[in-house]
């Protein structure tokens, strides 16, 4: 199982990285907070930690720390528009339920 980027997500990540002018890829993770227990983390990555698991998707590096990996296995990061809003979305098969807003979830 791996973690991947959709075509649209990859396009936007490359654009944002180019604009930012530095960074080796993006870091995905989960942290324990929020109304349903877990919350996603989505950051630019400037350096890989030794223990990081690194996936290559569409030519981009996706870094994940080993503690977050079990919760993210099989996830596809997508970039979508919903009305005027646009941004990244985690299509995560591990999620059992999530809070109404979807910002935190349970596995």
């Amino acid at each position: 199982m791996s973690v991947t980027l959709s075509e649209s997500a990859a396009e936007h990540v490359s654009k944002f990285l180019a604009k930012r002018g530095k960074g080796i890829g993006i870091r995905l993770g989960v942290k324990t907070s929020g109304c349903s227990g877990m919350a996603y983390k989505l950051e630019f990555a400037d350096a890989a930690e030794p223990e990081d698991v690194v996936f290559d998707s569409r030519g981009l590096k996706v870094l994940i720390d080993p503690r977050s990996l079990p919760y993210l296995e099989g996830t596809e990061l997508d970039y979508t528009k919903e009305g005027l809003n646009e941004g990244f979305k985690f299509n995560n098969p591990n999620v059992k339920d999530q809070c109404g807003c979807g910002e935190s979830f349970n596995v």
Partner: protein, 622 residues
């Protein structure tokens, strides 16, 4: 499912705690809202993909409020209830607004700011602006998927206290938390400066629809500082349209046209101007209501020729702003172009030639201010990346001071001081036993209060009775990061304090600001002379009061003849002190000083004797 943005390493926010911040360019003609998404500043569009929101609000008879394109579309049908260019009324009294008679509005005289009577009641410019801001807030919240933490709103660099306060009030009324008001040129520089990692002196050349502004900025070690501003409040893209319009009339040999045909030709003129931005020549054709047919070709050579004087007109204020900053064109490292009118190739060329370098124009000149505001808002909301802790410094456009005896201005904060700033100066009482002091806060460059603008008055009471000149009153002026002034006066021995937030009822027009600046320079010699005269007059008055008070206590020390001489000297001084011959005043003061020299010596001896009488030498030596 909420949509996420990529954050800087370690800056991921907890769910429901996103710091959503926007920058808003609240313009005279159009307004925009922008934000920073995944590290990139972007302008937010409406459902139809339009980024500009016309700054037009219509208060319909049916109780419906239209904002933007909908309001603009009905403008000609309902001019009285459709408010355009409300920014020109912000913080302004009726007599501050030019051409009130020619506007279709029903103005209501109100304390301070002018108001407008509409089908939905009397509206203040603050409420109208709040409706524009509210529309942008709804757009931003729909685009970002949550409530906004705060907003940075841009204002022209020359906006005074009243106009800034009105803008802030409008934002609050629209339910926005104002993180900061930001000067428009500074916002433009942020949009370019940070993106390009620039340092040095930069000029911001802002040619909008109806106004021209030039600002000289210094960017160093991540600090933005506005060194000088200038401009022309009646020069913009519309004037270029008008030149083309006049040319069409001439080229097509038209007789005077009806208002309807004039509107049509003005539209054609604007289209031709825009077409020439990317093409060498623009065909102009129109069928007029008069039956005449217009079919002419405007080449970019002709367009450049007929608008040459307009382009030249922008360089005057540019030269002056550079001079104010003590710089020359060669010192400028880059020129930022702002405003749709800067797209015109001849403007780009003239600016390029004047500064001897290509202007920066790789960002959309209509959006650059909003983008810079968004970057600033993102930082102020706490979404900063490592190494992003830069400061932002702006300047005040006119000196701030207080009135001193004789109607003179004492400047406390000089023009072009960077803000936020706090300056204090000590003042004292003028009369014996004076227990209160009236403070008059003024703005301007001239030496006499009557030539400056009055901002506020307040009083400090409870000064303990002391001889003139003994009390120490510390007056502190503080201008916050939004450019708003508060003044405090504090008597140092008792701690009695009085303070005032300056919210002047009337604002200054930028023409007035420019005129006051010009006055300050051209009257410098004249003012220096008048100041010296006033100072002599105040000094003479002080001297007379001191002598009279001494005479009251110790007149017995003088012979009748001596007394007569002193009285004569006083009379002589009183006679000349209200005139404008400073030499005569100085001479009469000298005469009085000499005439009372012996008297002063006797009084001194008398008080020494009093102090010594009845004491032994030993007591004094111990």
């Amino acid at each position: 499912m909420a949509l996420l943005q990529i954050t800087e390493p370690g800056e991921s926010t907890a769910p429901h705690e996103h710091r959503l911040a926007v920058g808003i360019d609240l313009g005279t003609t159009n307004s925009l809202v922008a934000t920073v998404r995944s590290g990139q500043a972007v302008v937010l569009s409406d459902e139809m993909g339009r980024s500009l929101l016309p700054s037009v609000v219509r208060y319909g008879n049916d109780g419906h409020v239209d904002v933007g394109f909908e309001a603009q579309a009905r403008q000609s049908l309902d001019p009285r209830n459709t408010i355009v260019s409300v920014k020109r009324f912000m913080g302004r009294g009726r007599r501050d607004i030019a051409h009130v008679e020619s506007m279709p509005y029903d103005f209501v005289d109100a304390e301070g700011m002018v108001k407008l009577r509409t089908a939905q009641g009397v509206k203040s410019p603050v409420e109208v602006s709040a409706d524009i801001l509210g529309n942008l807030r709804v757009r931003a919240e729909a685009s970002l998927g949550g409530a906004l933490t705060g907003a940075v709103i841009t204002v022209p660099a020359y906006f005074d206290d009243a106009q800034r306060q009105a803008t802030k009030d409008a934002a609050r009324l629209a339910g926005l938390n104002v993180l900061r008001l930001l000067n428009e040129p500074t916002a433009a520089a942020i949009a370019y400066g940070l993106d390009n990692g620039a340092e040095g002196i930069y000029a911001v050349y802002d040619l909008g629809g109806g106004t021209f502004d030039i600002s000289i900025l210094k960017l160093a070690k991540g600090i933005f500082q506005v060194l000088a501003t200038g401009g022309d409040s009646a020069l913009g893209g519309d004037d270029f349209d008008h030149r083309v319009f006049c040319w069409i009339i001439e080229a097509a040999k038209l007789s005077p046209v009806s208002p309807h045909d004039a509107r049509l030709l003005q539209t054609r003129a604007r289209e031709a101007k825009e077409y020439l931005t990317v093409h060498g020549e623009a065909p102009i054709s129109a069928r007029l209501a008069s039956g005449e047919f217009v079919d002419v070709k405007l080449t970019s050579e002709i367009f450049t020729e007929i608008t040459k004087t307009l382009v030249q007109k922008t360089l005057g204020p540019t030269r002056k702003a550079l001079r104010d900053a003590g710089l020359s064109a060669e010192d400028v490292k880059g020129v930022v172009m702002v405003g749709g009118a800067t797209r015109m190739p001849q403007v780009q060329k003239a600016v390029g030639e004047y500064f001897g370098r290509e202007p920066l124009n790789n960002l959309d000149p209509d959006k650059v201010v909003a983008l810079g505001a968004a970057i600033q808002a993102n930082l102020l909301a706490g979404n900063r990346a490592a190494g992003d802790d830069w400061l932002l410094l702006d300047v005040i456009p006119l000196s701030l001071g207080i009135e001193t005896m004789g109607g003179l201005t004492e400047k406390i904060i000089p023009r072009n001081s960077t803000i936020p700033v706090a300056r204090a100066q000590d003042f004292t009482t003028f009369k014996d036993g004076q227990t209160a002091m009236a403070l008059h806060v003024v703005q301007g460059e001239r030496e006499l209060v009557s030539d400056c603008r009055s901002l506020a008055r307040f009083e400090l009471r409870g000064i303990p009775p002391m001889v003139a000149g003994a009390a120490r009153i510390r007056v502190t002026f503080q201008v916050d990061a939004d450019g708003l002034l508060s003044a405090t006066a504090r008597e140092q021995t008792t701690g009695h304090e009085a303070r005032i937030e300056v919210k002047p009822s009337y604002g200054l027009t930028d023409d007035e600001v420019a005129a006051m600046l010009k006055d300050g320079f051209s009257h410098a010699t004249d003012d220096a002379f008048r100041r010296a005269l006033r100072e002599a007059q105040v000094e003479a008055q002080r001297l007379i009061e001191a002598v009279q008070s001494a005479l009251k206590d110790d007149a017995h020390l003088l012979s009748i003849l001596e007394r007569a001489h002193v009285d004569a000297c006083i009379a002589k001084l009183q006679a000349v002190m209200m005139g404008d011959d400073r030499r005569a005043i100085d001479a009469a003061m000298d005469a009085l000083n000499k005439g009372t020299g012996e008297f002063a010596a006797r009084r001194m001896n008398q008080s020494v004797q009093r102090a010594l009488s009845g004491k032994k030498i030993e007591e004094l030596e111990s």
